[in-house]
Symmetry: C2
Subunit: 162 residues, 2 copies
C-alpha cells in the first residue's frame, strides 16, 4: 500500500518537476528511507536533515533553545518552521517535517506533528498514534507521505467546470 503511494508521489513530483526535502525528528530518517525506496527518487528528493537533538534544531533551523526546551522540540509551530525552512535550506519546491514523541516512556507518547510546505501554503496536522515506538514512527512517516501527496496534488488541481 505504502509502495503504491510512494510511487504515485515520486511520479507526480517528477512530472511536475518539483523537488522535495525533509526535516525529521521522531521518525529518525524513516520518511527519507521510504522516499528513497523508489528507484529514480534521486531526481526529486534532494535530502533530509534528521534533527534528533535540540542542538541540531537550533543549529540548522535557528530555533531558539528557550522555545525548544519549553516544548522538548515538539510542537505545531516548530514543525511548520522545520518544513518551511528545510525547503529554503535545500532549495526545493516542497518541504516536509515531522516531530513527535515515539515513546515508549514519557508524556504524550504517540503525539506527532506533521507539516508540509509548498508554495505559499504550510499545513500542519497533529495525530495521536497508539502502539509501540516503532509503530508510532512508521505510521507517522506514512501519514506524512500521504500528506505531501495530497497537498502537492491539490495545489495543481484544476477546478471542475460546471
Amino acid at each position: 500500500m505504502i509502495m503504491k503511494t510512494l510511487r504515485k508521489l515520486i511520479d507526480k513530483l517528477g512530472k511536475e518537476k518539483l523537488t522535495l526535502a525533509c526535516a525529521e525528528s521522531a521518525s529518525g530518517g524513516y520518511v527519507s528511507y521510504l522516499l528513497t525506496k523508489i528507484p529514480g527518487s534521486s531526481r526529486i528528493f534532494r535530502g533530509s536533515i534528521v534533527v534528533y537533538s535540540l542542538e541540531a534544531k537550533t543549529k540548522f533551523f535557528k530555533i531558539p533553545p528557550a522555545i525548544l526546551r519549553q516544548t522538548q522540540g515538539v510542537s505545531r509551530k516548530i514543525t511548520s518552521l522545520l518544513a518551511r525552512r528545510v525547503k529554503n535550506i535545500l532549495n526545493t519546491d516542497v518541504g516536509a517535517a515531522l516531530t513527535g514523541f515515539a515513546g515508549p516512556a514519557g508524556k504524550n507518547v504517540g503525539q506527532v506533528f506533521l507539516s508540509v510546505s509548498y508554495r505559499n501554503k504550510t499545513s500542519v496536522k497533529k495525530v495521536m498514534i497508539k502502539g509501540s515506538r516503532d509503530k508510532v514512527r512508521k505510521e507517522a512517516s506514512m501519514i506524512l507521505i500521504e500528506m505531501i501527496y495530497n497537498q502537492v496534488g491539490a495545489g495543481h488541481a484544476r477546478p471542475v467546470k460546471k
Copy 2:
C-alpha cells in the same frame, strides 16, 4: 541480531559519554532510523544529514561539484570526508557516513563505501552487496553500525598485559 548490536552500541556510547552524527547517501536515512529504534538514543545521536543529491553534498559538505560529478558522489575519499565533516558540523565525537549505488539499474550496483571517524582516525571500507535495492541499503546500514561499534570499542580497548 541488529537490535542486539544497536543496544550494545548505544550503551557503549552512553557509558563513554560519546555523541554520534551521520551523513547518509544511498541508505537514505536508514542508518539513522536504526540508531533511533533504541529508546534513549537521543542522548547519544545528535542527528544526520541525508545527502541524496550532489547539491546537498556540496551545500553541507563543501565538496566541489566537479569531484562529485566524476564519481557520482560515491567514492572512498568522499565518504571519509562526509564522516569527518559531519562530526564537525554536528559537533559530535563520532561521525559515520555511507555512500553507494543501491540500484537496481546502472553501473557498480551493490558497491558501497562506509566510513567512521573517531578521534584522529577515519576508517573507510568498501563492500559489494548482492541483492535488491532494499537489501543493499539495509545490509550496508547494518555493516556501518557494526563498524562504528568496533571502531569506538577499539579506541578504548586497553592493551593486554603480558
